[in-house]
Symmetry: C2
């Protein structure tokens, strides 16, 4: 296991969204987030203290977590300088980037010389089966989005927290590097070999008590041409009983795809539900989660009320206003 | 490149379908198929001469191709004995199995000692980009199926052959091990890392002449819960201008999934087209390819006529009756 607490490395993140790994850790395990480390040109800020490596070490941080996700994953030369210094200063390093720490000879050499560990949470650590599609006991919720990075992980974490606060049986099932860094386990789905994607999710969410909920983190979007296959594997491997639609209402276009408009929530609802019913004919869409971080409080309330009226489903921002109504809807399932 | 011609190894294939790799080579490159090698318990038969290793060597075969696909891919002890003997007899070995020849120390040792080569065509040999969704020039056809192993590769190969016979510009784009063994190149899509699936297909089918057709081999099915994510990555990475629906009418259930019924062709048409339009709004479904190998000639004709009337699209078995009508429909696109 990765040693806590963490120093959250934001590097030269071009914007706040690029630092979503660090933000997730800070929001859901604040006790693990000692400080942030930012380089020249960093445009992200978690509102944590900025510390040097030595200051963070003195404050008790044990692992430097690379809390910034770059498209494709790149460990730049500028980052490398900081990472080597961190190893020299006594930190382990944990990363969810595509480019692996273990593939960087200079990092490996310093880590070995200093007795430090490098954690690549993106790399699958076990072999997954091919999905068999056999129905499993227990209940499952999956978050599906109109786009990438619209709040699917936050929605799942908020639902899980609310369920546990009510004494319901619930487990958050991480499918991405941030979730894995937060919870210490899960499937790094975007790094799984294509044939085993759905099987890895069956493995992640096995048979359970009839009244137990697996709250499965979503990935990508059926309408995002770069990652839609990952999303569909989650829908078919997850066998969800309930879907929660996730949306961010201020996007001009699909993330990373300037030529692509966002789909309507109704289109996502219909497509995701029709696909989910292949694996679980009883699946239903129970609610809508809107990421209103770029709206004022008044705008958010108006938007949520409009969506709720149009789609006839509870529409909330679980991070801003709580996940109570989503959990109410889930508790009413089957 | 893999040396030809081949001895096609059928192992202990439980049924004819398990030997589809060998069948594909024999059907589309018969000049490369010297003989078949069958073990005790083999229930497949290509109609080729059965030869011992020495007989096949004397007949000119240079590479033993493992022409049988097992679920998940396993190199059994019984197979191993034959493969070692083949290396000793002077054959290279080529395989599309998940379990790699290069991961079997005894095979590697014998191959090295004998100066023989081991080809694992399932393993990607290059790094693929993340899909960018940018529209590409040229025309593309993709075969989509109601199930796995319904004839998508055959359909694509038949369309490509007919197009070239007419002097049209056409390239068959292999996305599976059989296609790669047949054509010598392509993307082993089911072995690609999840995040790069759609990007690998963009890479496989780049910009081309406006009147050039890429005939892209399909994989899996949107309705097959084990592999549906791979299928969707093909649809979004391929940006097809035209879809051909593929079906095998005698299945009791989805291949490998006893609890799952086959979808209707109309359901596949609607779902695949709606997903394809995300990447290429001009996409259309142009025809239906039915694998009638388990029907009599009279049954096949009746079935095809019924499907054609019901769906209002040309319905043919391109392997049995030729791909002329599918190519007519494609030639009318755009």
């Amino acid at each position: 296991m990765i040693k806590t607490p963490y120093l959250l490395f934001l590097g030269d993140a071009p914007d706040q969204l690029a630092a979503k790994v660090a933000q997730g850790i800070k929001d859901w395990r604040p006790e693990n987030a000692v400080a942030q480390f930012r380089m020249a040109g960093c445009n992200a800020d978690l509102g944590l203290a900025d510390m040097t490596l030595d200051q963070a070490k003195a404050a008790g941080a044990k692992t430097l977590v690379i809390g910034v996700a770059n498209r494709g994953g790149v460990i730049s030369a500028a980052w490398k300088e900081v990472l080597v210094a961190a190893l020299d200063a006594g930190f382990d390093i944990a990363s969810g980037l595509h480019n692996l720490l273990r593939d960087e000879p200079d990092l490996v050499a310093v880590a070995n010389a200093q007795g430090r560990r490098l954690f690549d949470v993106r790399v699958p650590t076990e072999e997954y089966p091919i999905a068999n599609g056999v129905p499993r006991t227990g209940k499952r919720m999956l978050a599906v989005g109109t786009d990438c990075s619209v709040g699917k992980m936050y929605t799942a974490l908020a639902v899980d927290a609310e369920m546990r606060a009510r004494g319901m049986k619930s487990t958050f099932r991480a499918t991405g590097q941030t979730g894995i860094l937060i919870t210490g386990g899960g499937v790094p789905l975007d790094a799984v070999i294509a044939d085993f994607m759905a099987g890895s999710i069956e493995h992640l969410s096995p048979d359970n008590d009839p009244d137990h909920w697996d709250i499965i983190e979503g990935q990508g979007s059926l309408f995002h041409v770069s990652y839609s296959g990952v999303t569909l594997a989650l829908i078919h491997g997850g066998q969800p009983d309930a879907l929660v639609l996730c949306h961010e209402p201020t996007r001009d276009h699909m993330r990373g795809l300037p030529g692509y408009q966002l789909p309507s929530m109704a289109a996502v609802r219909d497509l995701a539900l029709s696909l989910a019913k292949v694996a679980n004919p009883a699946c239903q869409v129970v609610g809508i989660s809107v990421n209103t971080q770029h709206l004022s409080e008044a705008e958010a309330k108006t938007y949520l009320a409009t969506v709720e009226a149009e789609l006839g489903l509870p529409a909330v921002d679980p991070f801003r206003h709580g996940a109570e109504r989503l959990v109410d809807a889930l508790a009413a399932v089957g």
